[in-house]
């Protein structure tokens, strides 16, 4: 069911301009990929609330804005001092910075990465690493059901390309920082495309941050594809802190090979409308998959998480915990789909979505969706929407602490339970600080402590 042809037309026009200019030098396979994708998008159009996957998320406001592809020319000047506070630890030597979707050589710093690691701009890597990129790019992305991912694929140009070779263990987190800055055009859309391959027995932590330097209207349509090879260990953290006038649609596709561990954490604070699709296909046995997240919505925000864990093989475990703090007139959506295929015996899967609904006008929509085709499995799921636990409130108050401060402390407790699952300590501290700041600004009226954690939970 397509949206008004006029809205699609704008993007098609933009595509033709893109095809004839910047995209003209691409290898044939890439041109073909893009052409196929724009065709798919044209066919599908923008989703409407009549479709099950978009039932609670109306993106009509997004379609009405005349977004134009962010231009590489006249990119605004961003200084290192503008972005220091967004970097884990203040400074990093394993950092890729993008401005409006384009890689910035001057702001990036990759000097601490082991020399065998390949990390850089996707646009610049297509030449040298074309075969590897071609082999992986858009292999498993279900374009037929993801119009925004199709749109991003049509405009594939730049983003991060990272390859961690076999056996290589990267100690410091690799940060991908996507900054959006207002341009003369004012309503730009960027299409960051990230491709990350972690080789057999390798290990790395990635942090993907989406931030704005000012409160403008723009649209980030991002796709990250990740390949977690056999026996590797990957920790992934996404921080979405876009302008609250902006739109963010992110699709993540993860392919997990046998005996590997994949842990993802999503912190969603920004955007007017944000939609995160996280799809993980478990392709081998003895895998561990952890998918956790926290969203805090206020004012008129809408933040939607749609996750999909596909257990195709036996003897794997997955755990999913998403928590939300929903205030004001905001809205949160969570849809957690888990497939356990017929062959996936001995699957152990847990899914939980807990929401703190803190105002009369806020709305929470939560839907677990389990489809189990194997008969020897352990699958549990639960969803709650409510207020703070009365017994816990009583305990805090019985120590002399008043109502407001008691609620504030327990709200911190509610949020910090999920960040416990972030393994890298500096990354966890960075995320905790963002949470405290947001709670202080929008949710509570009293002073808050720095979040502390027990020893990191072992899987």
């Amino acid at each position: 069911m397509t949206q008004s042809a006029k809205e699609i037309e704008k993007y098609l026009t933009d595509f033709h301009a893109f095809e004839n200019n910047g995209a003209a030098h691409a290898p044939a396979w890439l041109k073909e990929l893009r052409a196929g994708a724009i065709g798919k998008f044209s066919e599908l159009g923008f989703p409407t609330t009549k479709q099950e996957d978009w039932r609670f998320t109306n993106i009509l406001p997004l379609t009405k804005v005349p977004f134009r592809h962010a231009s590489k020319k006249d990119l605004p000047d961003v200084r290192p001092s503008d972005i220091g506070k967004f970097i884990i630890g203040g400074a990093s030597k394993s950092l890729l910075v993008f401005v409006n979707g384009y890689f910035s050589n001057t702001l990036s710093n990759l000097t601490s990465l082991p020399k065998e690691v390949v990390a850089g701009s996707l646009a610049e890597s297509v030449g040298v690493h074309g075969e590897q990129i071609r082999h992986h790019l858009s292999r498993h992305l279900p374009l037929q059901s993801h119009p925004f991912a199709a749109l991003n694929t049509a405009f594939i140009h730049d983003g991060a390309f990272i390859y961690i070779p076999k056996g290589c263990k990267v100690a410091s987190p690799i940060q991908l920082l996507f900054i959006s800055v207002a341009t003369k055009e004012d309503t730009a859309v960027s299409y960051p495309r990230n491709l990350i391959i972690v080789g057999e027995k390798a290990a790395a932590t990635f942090v993907e941050s989406y931030i704005a330097l000012s409160e403008d209207v723009y649209f980030s349509n991002v796709v990250t594809e990740m390949f977690v090879e056999k026996e590797s260990a990957v920790d992934f953290v996404k921080i979405q802190h876009e302008s609250e006038k902006a739109y963010h649609v992110g699709t993540m596709q993860v392919e997990q090979a046998g005996h590997s561990r994949f842990t993802a954490f999503s912190l969603a604070l920004g955007a007017s409308i944000a939609r995160n699709d996280i799809n993980i296909t478990i392709n081998g046995e003895q895998c561990e998959t952890m998918l956790d997240g926290l969203y805090i919505t206020s004012n008129d925000q809408l933040i939607d998480h749609h996750t999909f864990i596909d257990h195709t093989q036996p003897n794997c475990s997955s755990r999913e915990i998403f928590k939300g703090i929903v205030t004001g007139k905001s809205r949160s959506v969570f849809n957690g789909k888990i497939f356990v295929r017929k062959e996936a015996q001995k699957t152990d899967s847990k899914q939980t979505n807990k929401n703190l609904l803190l105002s009369d006008k806020a709305i929470v929509d939560t839907k677990p969706q389990l489809e189990i085709f194997a008969d020897d499995v352990k699958c549990t799921h639960g969803a709650t929407v409510g207020s703070l636990d009365a017994a816990s409130l009583f305990y805090v108050k019985s120590r002399g602490i008043g109502e407001e401060a008691a609620r504030a402390l327990l709200t911190v407790g509610f949020a910090s339970e999920v960040t416990n699952y972030i393994n890298d300590e500096p990354v966890r501290k960075h995320v905790d600080a963002l949470i405290i700041k947001r709670l202080q600004e929008r949710v509570v009226n009293t002073a808050l402590p720095e979040i502390v954690h027990s020893d990191p939970k072992m899987i």
Binding site: V396, S398, R399, G400, G413, V452
Partner: protein
């Protein structure tokens, strides 16, 4: 030793053990808690069916009883647990209506409940939590709040009292604590907040003898002539270490017998059955 000094020691001994008559003035000064005909419900079911109890400063009262008798309910009603509804009777604490106060007001007035099942508060350190509580209590008393440094000094001192490792200072409240550690943490909180009336709700449940001794030791060190303790317990064992001045037996929501510490030993020998039967026949 001078005569006068010896006399006063003996006098004190007489007062607490034999309940010698006092003058009205001292009675009024010492009386901390007066529970009169207290009836309380939970989910519509009546648990407390008319409790009468008076606690004076400097006293240790034990409340014992079989499971389901209402011991924990009594403790929680005194602290102000929201699930319980008082349907009849009243409680006067320091001359004020206790039931009219919110849980935080009661705490600020010096009431402390050591929970049977202490609650975990992830993300918030023991240190921050206790400092917040103590400063609220201080504010209520018109005292200046303590800053982080001043508080840390006090906390470290108090931790020695319950033999708690300093590493617990920065751990989230009760998170991952063993049963014994949680109970010790309750006594640590009591040591920091310095309540006038402390109610220990089955503090001994789930503790081995060594943990029990540490907890009891902590409680004993905190005893003063101007505070009081109500120890709620099922077993007599704890009372070997926290020696009560008075023992009350609660059966089916009522105090059916009161006595000195020998009553606890009697119960240990004979169990609650006799008293339960007596209570049932009275009810009929």
């Amino acid at each position: 030793m001078r005569d006068g000094h010896r006399l006063s020691t003996t006098d004190h001994g007489l007062r607490t053990k034999n309940r010698a008559p006092r003058t009205r003035n001292i009675e009024q000064e010492l009386q901390m808690l007066e529970i009169k005909n207290l009836h309380a419900n939970v989910v519509g079911k009546e648990i407390l069916k008319g409790i009468n109890l008076t606690v004076n400063a400097g006293e240790v009262h034990a409340v014992m009883g079989p499971n389901g008798s209402g011991k924990s309910t009594l403790a929680q009603v005194l602290a102000g647990h929201p699930s319980y509804e008082v349907t009849e009777g009243g409680v006067v604490y320091d001359g004020k209506d206790l039931l009219d106060m919110t849980p935080e007001e009661r705490a600020q007035e010096g009431v402390f409940l050591a929970f049977q099942y202490p609650v975990e508060i992830p993300g918030v350190s023991n240190s921050y939590f206790l400092k917040a509580g103590l400063n609220e209590i201080r504010r209520h008393k018109g005292l200046e709040p303590l800053d982080a440094m001043e508080f840390l000094k006090i906390l470290k001192e108090k931790m020695k009292l319950v033999e708690m490792d300093p590493s617990f200072i920065n751990r989230p409240v009760n998170e991952g604590f063993s049963g014994g550690e949680k109970k010790r943490n309750e006594i640590l909180q009591m040591a920091v907040l310095e309540p006038r009336l402390a109610i220990l709700d089955e503090t001994d449940s789930g503790l081995d003898i060594d943990a029990l001794k540490v907890v009891a030791n902590g409680v004993n060190k905190l005893k003063r002539s101007d505070n009081a303790v109500i120890v709620v317990t099922h077993y007599q064992r704890l009372l070997n270490y926290i020696v009560p001045d008075f023992v009350h037996v609660l059966v089916n929501g009522r105090i059916v017998k009161s006595g000195g510490k020998e009553l606890a030993l009697e119960l240990e020998a004979n169990g609650y059955d006799t008293l339960k039967e007596e209570a049932e026949s009275v009810a009929r």
